[in-house]
């Protein structure tokens, strides 16, 4: 459904993405993981049209996204959430969703505003938004100003905004960041419920527990390249992946030594064991 075809992205001399090729299939959840700076967000931003592509193609079906202006990418069926929440803070929650349903053509936009059919169309848009809000348990917040909601709720509103237009590809950029266990669990249920035969979902996440539990396939990136791809268990046992995440075990030795040396010299805080402040 979504295909990265030899995609490269240069920032100045630095290649943030270096000849990446992989495909995201519909009906399943594809997770992209990797250390900070591995290029995951760059990949998302290129697909969504925020960044230009230096070379290569990004395809949804037969449509080459890198050739489209950003707003057309949404109409091509790709929508996303953002790592740092980007809601329209001053607008109500339901209006935030309606933005994604605004008619693409200016003519229909004006006809919608002043024409006779406008009211019905507006009602229909509203109904769709409310349905999605209800689905995500946000119905009570429909008329609240988006910026005034709690963090977790904002994250969900962003998800709602991304799905209200019924995309073919959904990019979720760290949806669980900053959520507590309960919220993460809730999110997990919502994501699983979204799984549909004609929807390709891409999940970028740091929360390994979440990833391991819901991803059908995992793409591991490191320093702008795809390091490995496979199921959770395949990835778990991949030594290259372990190294990428933990750093070369050898190189850490110096630090360990230096730290140990220091620890012998300085007073360590008198501590029994760990203090758990929360259950």
């Amino acid at each position: 459904m979504l295909k990265f075809d030899h995609v490269t992205k240069q920032f100045g001399e630095l290649a943030a993405i270096d000849d990446v090729t992989f495909e995201v299939k519909p009906g399943i959840i594809t997770a992209v993981i990797g250390p900070n700076g591995a290029g995951k967000s760059t990949l998302v931003n290129m697909a969504a049209g925020s960044y230009g592509v230096t070379s290569g193609r990004i395809l949804v079906g037969d449509t080459e996204l890198q050739k489209l202006p950003k707003y057309r990418i949404a109409h091509a069926g790709l929508s996303r959430t953002y790592q740092n929440i980007r809601l329209f803070d001053g607008m109500s929650v339901v209006k935030n969703l309606e933005v994604a349903l605004v008619p693409p053509r200016v003519g229909s936009l004006i006809a919608n505003t002043f024409g006779l059919s406008g009211r019905a169309a507006a009602e229909e848009r509203r109904a769709r938004c409310h349905a999605v809000l209800e689905r995500l348990g946000l119905a009570a917040y429909a008329e609240r100003q988006a910026g005034s909601l709690a963090y977790g709720q904002q994250k969900l509103v962003e998800l709602a905004r991304a799905i209200v237009a019924e995309p073919r590809v959904l990019l979720l950029d760290e949806p669980a960041a900053g959520l507590n266990h309960g919220e993460t669990e809730q999110l997990k249920q919502h994501i699983l419920a979204l799984r549909a035969p004609d929807l390709a979902m891409v999940l970028i996440e740091h929360d390994m527990k979440l990833i391991m539990s819901i991803s059908d396939t995992i793409v591991v990136m490191n320093r702008g390249r795809v390091l490995a791809q496979g199921t959770a268990s395949e990835i778990r046992t991949n030594t290259e992946v372990q190294e990428a995440y933990l750093g070369q075990p050898g190189a850490i030795k110096d630090i360990e030594a230096a730290a140990r040396g220091r620890r012998n010299r300085v007073r360590i805080r008198e501590g029994e064991g760990l203090t758990w402040h929360q259950p």
């Binding site: 925020s50 960044y51 230009g52 740092n84």
Partner: protein, 313 residues
Amino acid sequence: MGALILQQTINALTVGSIYALIALGYTMVYGVLRLINFAHSELFTAGAFIGLALAGALGVAGHPTGGLLVGFITFVIIGLAGVSVEIVAYRPLRGTSRLAPMLSALGMAVVIQNAVMLIGGRRPLIYPSFLPSGVIDVFGAIITYKQITIFLVAVILMVALELFVNRTNLGVRIRAVAENAETASLVGINPNMAISLIFFIGPGLGAVAGILYSSFYGVATFTMGFVIGMKAFTAAILGGIGSIPGAVLGGFLLGFIETFATAWMPVLTGGLIGTEYRDIFAFSVLVLILLFRPAGLLGEHVSEETIVYKSDF
């Protein structure tokens, strides 16, 4: 012909010097606060009036050396006025919205202009020249000592400012605040100190420009700031607002555009387009430059990829 071109070049340099001096005040304030300081042009006017009053009080009207003293004291007085305006009318609005301080500045402009009118009078004041008189004839072009002095004073002030900003520790700190006030405060710089300093230097330079301007043209009126302020502001944009060399470049460029448009446009178009289209020409150049270089000639181009854009208003 050669003489005429030379003459017009000199004319352009003189006007450009004054635009550039005023443009500096706009650009410095904008660089730090992203604020169009509408009151700047009125402080320029106030500077000319205070200079005149001082010259009278000190009995140095018309003496070039007295002019230095007057210029210095006026710089300080108007500088302090600028600092007060910022504290009273802009600082409380910091962080509210972009429009509020701009319109507050507009209100301050009205206040200052009318205060100058009520105190200094409506009558155009005959201004004693602090500049040396005399002319040199260079290949048929007439250069007055006044023009030379204005150019020199402007260049000296601009170089001094550039050195201050680039070569002194204080200047470096100001640039840091201009780039990111929050980070600057994290490394121990008091952003308000830097902002006050900018509101001291910018209007101070404007005041000196006011004295030069009125000395050169021999007149001071309470309304003279508005139009020249608009032009200087245009110059600042032209050069890339926020950039000090940009303001200087913009000032001189606008001086040249205006001068040569006035001199040659009627000739080039066979009288079809007269000198009265000068301002259209100037604004069209501005629009064109912005369309092709959206941040002005020397402004930092901020690409869409590197900024996360949130609405300003």
